[in-house]
Symmetry: C5
């Protein structure tokens, strides 16, 4: 559960709405054709830009921006120290039982390859390809949201141009100029809100989440290779601790 | 057949036209000299920017954004497992018959090289060069559409500047100011529509298609190399599965 | 203590305030709902964009832009020459006592690894990972400030759009147009000030500080590896001096 | 002779001029001080930005955007197959006579090095440095045109600001406002035309030409190395064909 | 002495001033508070962005954009051919006397390392680090000018916003609107001039100078390594000539 995403969206929208209501009625900012152009047009442009399955997948991906339960790096390092100890004392085959208890598929696959006796370089190659394709898939989610944000702002401008042209062409009663122009500006407003208070920051959160996950997978790769090589648990701890800031490091020795 | 591209273009244009008609007549948004400046000028600038054969090639490339029939990754991995099995049981020369049945030229070339007994490193080198030049050719299509989109917006602004200068120089009857300015804004509108509802998203789709194809070719390279090396079919499956998200992986081994 | 940051902020704000007061009253530039939209909205968008712990960490990081006490490169090179001399004369184990007197954790860790007899390549690998993760953590601070600056400008524009729509919709008394529009522009003004006189330059300072620290750590890595390899102190000095501009180089060898 | 560049420039300018004449007199768009600011200022800024010899060299380079006679890739591959055949049958020294007939200096130098008996790695190193410095020189031409385009737009805006300030300061007769503002906008118009219908697309064409030439040189390097290694002509053809799209490949072997 | 920089600055400013005087009085474009905001604010933001010593160093660096006396590449290559001849005939120790006559510190250091008998790989490593840190220091100068240019434009906009708010809040006498708005626009004008006719092109010149110097240093490294390896002077000439365009190459061997 990512509190920050929800708090951020709720507080940003609450602030904008409060600010609007301090200066006038909220209903002035509601216009159906403008909403249609911005939301529909943005979705249309995005469908041209990405294959349908990728756009649909985004709805599954966006929940990563709201819900997220991660394993701590410290816990993971502790696990590796334990596993390395077992492998050293009882041989690498003894890890087979530990593998069955794990939930992370990447970890299971990597350790299984070690137990199967693949040489470290092949393990690194297979896990490296896996990390690269995880990265590609994650990048897509973040990219689609950035694209949505960019098109939302462009469609907002297109809507305002439509409104301005209509207003200028039929400019007879000067008293209608103000309200017509206000409506024309609403699409730019919708586009800016959609982009800056939803699409772009969600793209940013997805990118951060992806970086975190890739860092965890790289740490796992280092640990798995070290176990396959039969490294000393203490050296493994030191290698893996390098991924952590100093104040968060814990040692299982002394 | 890429449904998303067609649905995207149709729905985006339908929405914009509906929104225009809710606020006035569609004919107000039609002006021949403005269309001339934006469409002709954009094409002119693009012809300066790219060699003629490249621009002509784009018309062949753009259909990739609309029509696309891809092989599934799972099917391809299955193929490799079968081929590796044949090569292991009957020797790599036995693949000669399988090669004749294939349609993908890249796959045929790569396997032929293996059957010819080239060493894995040379195969990787040749196929790598091939992937790089496929990428270069694809990037060009996406790049030309991005350029078209950028110039469309610039020409839109140039057209609006022309209209504004003409209006301001001959400003006698105040009642004509509005309509003249509306016409001046039309070029910006055309440029924004052309860029954001056609050129830029098509550029994006071409880039996505290119990434997909390159990923397939890289997977093929891995598979071909693995067969040339005489790898175990099970290891090959594991290596190639790394390109797939977990939930889409299938195993041919119980 | 980074004088430049404080002098920069104080002088920039003093100049802006002086310039405002030369042209009118300062109070004209103060509007609570506008401040709410820009500051609150920017913070909200940033909370959507980054995980909560990262945003909180920024407050610890920002002090690096104001306070900074660095070791000089020359002093560090001198240290290495001394350490290399000790290691050469008395053996690398003799460095153990020197390690206890050091304050820099990176230096301590690296030398401890040399004393423990790890081979140079492993030391480089461990210290390299450490530098990479220091870099990642630093980049985050600078990135969050850049994001704050970008959203501040976007929220400024959103606030101005809100003000313009409200003004245009209720345009009855022409004498209120000017002041209403002035208030609408204030959010853009706040966004521009927040971005350009605080967030973006602080992001720049954090990036510079990070580059400096990484350069120091790389120099330390080179020095530690050279000691582990048993290099001649004079060669070490020459290698490390390459990080310094000519006019700042000092030699410990006449 | 690059038809596209000339057709592009002529058609784009013809369209803009036609569009202007449909709406008024062409003379309205002609103003000497505005031309002075945009053209002179852009040139001035570019002279600050680049050393004089580089700016002068651009005039020699720009003709590459208009005239271009290239060797076809297919012909080049055919040449290499022939040369490899000669080298195989009669020894590499037999190529000496072929070298004298060549016009391309890069090709001559590379083959001469092979005939001189340099080992393939040294040849690759020398030719690689050559390609890198060709690339650097080409990039400069494209870069200078991009810079010209950027400054043209900036100077256009500076000119408009000058015009606006002058108009606003001396605003007595309302009937002069329109024409004065029209003149002020002309510099922005000139800047946009200069940038978007000349500088930026020419920069693009130079970049495309450079990529093509570098690709040819890389293909030549591959071929020369292969001959120096004594590769089989058929393998050479296959290696070099990888640079071509499938439909353009020709084989010299049935 | 870099004529282009001085000619560029003088001609650009002369043109802008001439253009202003053709349309009105120069004094209209002079306003002290506007100058204060743009120049002072830009400097303030830059001081926040960079450490004080880096900003001060810029004044030493900027003279590189105006004064520059370079060694020609051809001369340098000739030097290396001579040195390689000496080293071949009389042994590498014979270069000691030549080193004392040189002025370039990089050249001296590199040759001294060869004479001291360091192996080529160590020499390359030391000189490589040296080039990297020269590059870092040069990049900083160019970067600070780019930052100055960016902040100048932002402060210009902030100043205009201040002027607009003050004008709109106190809009009583319509006849003062024009002149007030003219003054408000002056800051944008100052920012655009400072950025586009000074900061950004100087940043560009510094970058070009840095690239030239790095290219010279890379050529020197190649030459020094080749001498240390005892390469044939003719091969050295051929290797180093690759850095030059064909028409500028000279040979010391008939």
């Amino acid at each position: 559960m990512d509190i920050a995403t929800i708090v951020g969206i709720l507080s940003a929208f609450a602030l904008v709405i409060t600010a609007i209501m301090l200066g006038g009625q909220l209903i002035l900012f509601f216009d159906v054709p403008s909403l249609m152009i911005v939301f529909g047009g943005t979705l249309g442009a995005t469908l041209i830009n990405y294959p349908l399955p990728d756009v649909l997948k985004v709805f599954r991906v966006v929940k990563n921006a709201f819900f997220h339960k991660g394993q701590t790096v410290q816990g993971l390092i502790g696990n590796f120290v334990t596993l390395a100890g077992v492998a050293r004392r009882e041989g690498i085959l003894a890890l087979e039982t530990n593998i069955n208890d794990m939930r992370d598929e990447f970890m299971k696959k990597g350790l299984q390859l070690s137990v199967d006796g693949l040489e470290p370089n092949s393990i690194r190659e297979i896990l490296g390809t896996e990390i690269l394709s995880i990265q590609d898939r994650h990048k897509l989610g973040s990219e689609i949201f950035t694209t949505l944000g960019t098109f939302a702002q462009a469609l907002g401008m297109i809507g305002t141009l439509i409104g301005l042209v209509q207003m200028l062409k039929t400019m007879e009663d000067p008293s209608t100029i103000g309200p017509s122009m206000a409506v024309a500006l609403l699409t730019t407003f919708y586009g800016a809100i959609l982009a800056n208070l939803f699409c772009l920051p969600v793209a940013g959160k997805l990118k951060t989440r992806s970086n975190e996950e890739v860092m965890m997978k790289e740490l796992m790769t280092e640990g798995i290779i070290a176990i396959a090589k039969g490294d000393n648990p203490r050296i493994i701890e030191q290698k893996l601790n390098a991924y952590l800031p100093l104040q968060l490091r814990e040692s299982n020795f002394r």
